[in-house]
Symmetry: none
Subunit: 208 residues, 4 copies
Amino acid sequence: MEEMEVPAKRGKREQTKVNNRKAILAAARSIFAELGYGTTTVRDIIRRTDLASGTFYNYFQSKEEVFQALMDANALEVRPHLIETRANARTFEDLIEGTFRVFFDYLARDRGAFEVLRSNAGAIRVRMDTPEIVAGFDELQVDIEKAISDGLLEPVNASYLTAAAVGMAFEIGDRMLAQEEADVEGAVKFATSLIMGGVVKLSNPDSP
Amino acid sequence: MEEMEVPAKRGKREQTKVNNRKAILAAARSIFAELGYGTTTVRDIIRRTDLASGTFYNYFQSKEEVFQALMDANALEVRPHLIETRANARTFEDLIEGTFRVFFDYLARDRGAFEVLRSNAGAIRVRMDTPEIVAGFDELQVDIEKAISDGLLEPVNASYLTAAAVGMAFEIGDRMLAQEEADVEGAVKFATSLIMGGVVKLSNPDSP
Amino acid sequence: MEEMEVPAKRGKREQTKVNNRKAILAAARSIFAELGYGTTTVRDIIRRTDLASGTFYNYFQSKEEVFQALMDANALEVRPHLIETRANARTFEDLIEGTFRVFFDYLARDRGAFEVLRSNAGAIRVRMDTPEIVAGFDELQVDIEKAISDGLLEPVNASYLTAAAVGMAFEIGDRMLAQEEADVEGAVKFATSLIMGGVVKLSNPDSP
Amino acid sequence: MEEMEVPAKRGKREQTKVNNRKAILAAARSIFAELGYGTTTVRDIIRRTDLASGTFYNYFQSKEEVFQALMDANALEVRPHLIETRANARTFEDLIEGTFRVFFDYLARDRGAFEVLRSNAGAIRVRMDTPEIVAGFDELQVDIEKAISDGLLEPVNASYLTAAAVGMAFEIGDRMLAQEEADVEGAVKFATSLIMGGVVKLSNPDSP
DNA sequence: GATGAATGAGAATTCATTCAT
DNA sequence: TATGAATGAATTCTCATTCAT
């Protein structure tokens, strides 16, 4: 009559709610990755779920809200690591290398997440930068500027340098994932070397 | 009242057709840039035109077709220049510098074109790479590989290097356009130096 | 397995049931008054309650049923009084005056009830006549006809006279409630005088 | 009174538009009359039309807008007549009688219009007064007040008197329409007599 | 009984595309 | 060819009602 009362924190109802939210987020992630944000419909999302259409609206107000939730989850995953890494960097090379490593590592661990940002709708590749991602980039620029004022780096155009690092991160990350087995360290080394010493250093890793 | 209409080769009718096509393309470009592809409606496009909705379909079969035409126009504008530049390159640095120059030059001359690629829908930045653009990048990779086999460049991961150049081109291009007056040469120098010698060279342009 | 259920005058359980029913009815009344029947949702109703949505269906089968219950409660409140009043009427004026008094009195005591009938959704005033109300009106007509056949009233079109009284009751009642302090006697006198002697009598209350 | 009916220059397109608008209004009127405003759906309306669902939105923004258009059409039909009638009234009786006649006449000519105001949803009769209609009634009150200040009528509560007239108009109008052949003059006489001299006068039309 | 999330039919609305003028 | 209203399938969203807990 009485429940055997498995020592569970959550009641079944509460657990179902958590699961449903996850299911919707997962479905949204996979479909956004396939179709891109603009083309995806709410129906597409719930169709990948065993939930009813109305249920979507118990969890999210709209397509945009679920997308934001997805992006926020991404950002929450990466930003703390980025911040920690940069805080510990003693040289400019540490800073750059650590940043690439956190980013490529994250991509390798969670391909799905990146696919949302790098979707392929028909023949059109789309990349979406959410406010959170943009914010992460801005922080990188601040750190670069600090590195310059701290004398860790000769004066350069910090805005362009940030842009270069960001562009490289996305494009190299993309190609890294295209391979069977993502070689994170290889990508980190490549990107860092290029930033630090250009093609000269790429082919001559031990040059100063 | 009426235009003086110098007797031209084109009949008035024919001229109108050309003008309408241009008007639709221009409207499409500006609205895609604002809303992104997925969110833009055909009505949005023709609303920026003094044409009627039905007329749209006399010129393009669908929303997708007008988008493709826009992308193709971009490519047609750039690719011949890229091909010529690369063909004339004698060193790897020539190759890289020429590529960046053609691309940044194109962006500076036709900001609108790039806006399509770098749109801002709500808080979400979107970048769209069409097949034509991707093809242009693939050609760069072929040229880089050729440069290696010709001994112009030490062996490096050509795929990653292409990716790095592409990413830098888009991101630096973006920031270049953000400035009041686009400094094409500055951007070309920056990007080329970074590729060639990394941050060392950036702050020390005359190093070997 | 099941509760032993001690026979109580009212168990706590039973009391709760009564209270919940009342709570739902009160909430329904107030929200119907605001939004009108068609626009009100069951969720609107339970939101004004500390009950859960499912609980609604333990007490009423549907939105319509709660509305009917509300109307029936109104009618139950008024009809016995109307019947008694009319039964005691010795003259036609007694009949009319008593009817108006019961009705206006009821409105003054329970504004909320009337508001349900006279709701104001957006800019559109709505009045709802339920079967019970219609029945009450029909009885008035029967009494008027009886008054005529009893010689208390000269022969007139009883249907129109009933209609006139009903229309006056609603409209005058509405204006009476619009005042700070509902002047029931004033409204009764006005309506009765108008029926009995028209505007002449209104301004000349003591004329025959 | 009647338009000279200029042979219309309308093109077929323009004519179709006018016809479709009329068709939607007519369908809306009849379905509102059947189901009441709250219960009626846009689909119900267009289903009574040979138009497509999307076409509705070429003419009206929403269900509310079509309803308002209907009400405004009603008001436009009656108010000018009411204003004219009242302007010509020399006595208070003229004023009242003219008002009733215009209103009952209108009802008799256009039963459908009134049906919207007197609908029957399930067992619940609903009557809707739109702002335009309310405005018409407010004007009556002003005229009554003027009649008092002009000495045409002994001082009485103008608000209640207006309310009484309005209530009578709607209710008696309703019953008038319930008859096979609407007896406008009969209804006018009845209502006017009741207002002027109460039941005494009703049964004794020639009393002063 | 109470709860409140799930359900899914159906409502309002949009929009790419067609077609009569 | 241009026009712009018509079309209707597709989309977003709501809500009365059910049901597992």
